[in-house]
């Protein structure tokens, strides 16, 4: 009886989220996988699943197209680099911030954390448009930069609608997702370990590199995943702030669904994006584990 009730309680609590995930994640993913094997409709969308003779209209055509047109693969590679640079920049910027918050007086921590997540209180698109103003040709920043360039006799450069604008905004938007997991990790560190390392002859850099950093790797991985995966598929930022050459894979997928209305090909690109992100996350975890093991054995 207890087991039954226990089982029932378990289903009551985990049931609704499970149903939600099946309904809004698993089913759409299956629909997308199915769509990738179908034929685009004459006026967009999908052609009927069954041909006039009643046979199923399934084809590998969209996959063949992806494999034979190098353009799409190149955009994947470009998106990968944007996401990677974003992740590294976020890591470098977030680490000192997270570490500062973790070391600050307990009274100030909640306030500092609040400041980190404060941007979430305003709309994502509005924040991107704000960067249009900050980076705009008549704004102080562009004037200052071009003033300096002009003094050296160089041509003025546009800040807006450039790879620079896209990257700056990517880093800006994703920074809190790196700060929070890093903080959560660093906050738990035992200060005595640093005292011990110092006592054993480690200088400040060695204490960071040998003790703090390796112990913070779980936080680094969590932050990197939270930044890299959304940055890899983003479309709004390059759409608004990027130039004609800054289209990323997210933009191409969006175009396939909304502009070209080629749903099967859009599905193929989405599936490749998902698989790549999963593969990269897996690879990072594997490298991470090896790295930790190497440090652990004392041969780092």
């Amino acid at each position: 009886m207890t087991t039954l009730r226990h089982g029932f309680g378990k289903w009551i609590t985990s049931g609704p989220p499970l149903v939600f995930l099946v309904a809004f994640f698993a089913v759409p993913t299956l629909i997308m996988v199915l769509a990738s094997f179908r034929t685009p409709g004459e006026f967009g969308g999908l052609a009927p699943l069954r041909n006039e003779d009643g046979s199923l209209d399934l084809t590998l055509e969209s996959y063949v197209r992806f494999a034979t047109e190098p353009l799409y693969w190149q955009i994947f590679v470009k998106s990968f680099w944007y996401a990677l640079v974003t992740t590294l920049a976020c890591l470098v910027l977030a680490y000192p911030v997270a570490s500062l918050i973790a070391q600050s007086d307990r009274r100030w921590r909640s306030l500092l954390l609040l400041l980190v997540i404060l941007p979430f209180w305003s709309n994502f698109l509005i924040r991107i448009y704000a960067w249009m103003i900050i980076l705009g040709p008549n704004a102080a920043l562009a004037r200052a930069v071009n003033g300096v360039l002009g003094a050296f006799g160089a041509e003025p450069v546009p800040l807006l609608f450039s790879a620079f604008a896209v990257l700056v905004c990517l880093v800006y938007v994703h920074l809190p997702f790196m700060v929070l997991p890093l903080y959560a990790n660093l906050e738990k560190h035992d200060r005595t370990l640093l005292d011990a390392a110092q006592d054993l002859g480690a200088n400040a850099w060695q204490r960071f590199w040998r003790i703090t950093f390796p112990l913070s790797l779980p936080g680094v991985y969590a932050g990197a995943a939270l930044v890299f995966i959304p940055a890899f598929g983003i479309f709004a930022i390059p759409d608004i702030l990027g130039g004609p050459n800054d289209s990323l894979i997210g933009n191409v997928i969006k175009q396939q669904f909304l502009d070209s209305r080629d749903w099967p090909f859009g599905s193929v690109l989405s599936i490749v994006l998902t698989l790549l992100a999963l593969a990269l996350a897996g690879l990072a975890a594997w490298i991470g584990k090896r790295g930790v093991a190497r440090l652990a054995s004392g041969h780092a």
């Binding site: 035992d190 006592d199 002859g201 480690a202 004392g298």
Partner: protein
């Protein structure tokens, strides 16, 4: 000149003086203990020796060199922390190799030193275990091996056995004594546990309120405490207080209101009428039935009020006729079931003039 000189060292935190003009010298090869209750300044003093804290006044001199401008990583001292502070992401080998790596020791030499250090603490072959795979005692030994592997001049130990259970603690005490004897490195040991201090140390500095109350060898500290604090802190004792009646010819007598006159042998010569204090250890008080022959001239009648049977010994609380409660410890070393007195028994207690000790402070 001592190996490690603490010269008039003071450390204040706001209004609180944690270490108050402490001066002491620690000799090479010595097992030296800083003993005192929590907040007495012993840990602050240890942290200043290690370099984690700096004195507000005075000097710390190691081997003739002032350590003031040397950060902890540059000092040839090593600390064993109370929490062990093993690096959780490194194996035993990684932990012990750490100071060697910092010192850029060549690999072959490092490997040899690691094996030596692990053998010293009887952990040979544990190289590839992680700290979380070890017992408390084993972690403790890794911490010691890690601190000893570079052969520091001085090893600082901050309550290293506090986290272990009683039996393991006793075993580790014996190991620490042997280890120190074997490698001959100077140990500076901090503890609040007086039995541990007495068992381990060559010399003990008893600290209270940031000052050194007494610096002595364990047996002298126990037998000849100089102040009431030391007498009370080291072991248990009967503290007898009252005006000095007389002091002459190597004897001091005081009148204890609720006991009687107590005379002890002492070289001190306090002025008659001034307040004096005498410490008598419970094991030096003899008990006997009324009229029994007991050694010693300090003799008082009383009634057993309670007793604590502890197996090897029994601790009696005897109420003297005038009201003072005296503790007497009797060994149950006779054959068979030993029991001397019951609650309510009338007894006589006595101790010799040399059993008591006149306290100067």
């Amino acid at each position: 000149m001592a190996l490690l000189e603490i010269d008039d060292v003071t450390r204040r935190f706001g209004d609180f003086t944690a270490v108050d003009h402490v001066t002491l010298g620690i000799e090479a090869g010595e097992f030296f203990t800083l003993l005192g209750p929590s907040g007495c300044g012993k840990t602050t003093l240890l942290r200043m020796i290690a370099g984690f804290d700096l004195p507000d006044g005075g000097r710390i001199v190691l081997d003739g060199r002032d350590l003031a401008d040397q950060p902890p990583e540059a000092r040839p001292l090593r600390t064993v922390f109370q929490s062990y502070a093993l690096f959780p992401h490194m194996t035993v080998q990684g932990n012990v190799a750490f100071p060697l790596k910092m010192a850029k020791t060549p690999a072959a030499e490092a490997a040899r030193k690691i094996d030596e250090a692990l053998a010293d603490v009887r952990l040979a072959g544990f190289n590839h275990r992680f700290p979380h795979e070890l017992s408390g005692g084993q972690r403790q030994r890794v911490a010691i091996a890690r601190a000893l592997v570079t052969h520091p001049t001085v090893l600082l130990l901050d309550e290293p056995l506090a986290a272990l259970d009683a039996k393991l603690r006793e075993q580790m005490q014996i190991e620490l004594i042997n280890l120190q004897k074997e490698i001959g490195i100077t140990f500076v040991y901090v503890t609040h546990d007086q039995t541990e201090a007495l068992a381990l140390s060559h010399r003990i500095a008893v600290m209270n309120h940031g000052r050194v109350e007494q610096l002595d060898e364990p047996d002298r500290l126990y037998g000849l405490p100089r102040t009431r604090f030391v007498a009370d802190f080291i072991g248990t004792c009967n503290l007898l207080v009252g005006p000095v009646r007389a002091s002459h010819g190597g004897d001091v007598a005081i009148d204890v209101a609720d006991l009687g006159t107590v005379t002890v042998a002492s070289t001190a010569s306090p002025a008659p009428g001034s307040e004096g204090a005498i410490a008598v250890r419970p094991e030096k008080v003899h008990l006997g039935a009324p009229g029994a022959t007991l050694p010693g001239d300090n003799r008082y009648a009383g009634v057993v009020e309670s007793f604590l049977y502890q197996g090897d010994v029994t601790l009696y609380n005897v109420r003297a006729e005038r009201g003072h409660l005296v503790e007497a410890l009797l060994a149950n070393s006779g054959a068979g079931l030993a029991k001397f007195f019951e609650v309510g028994d009338r007894v006589e207690m006595a101790f010799t003039a040399s059993a008591g000790h006149y306290l100067e402070g």
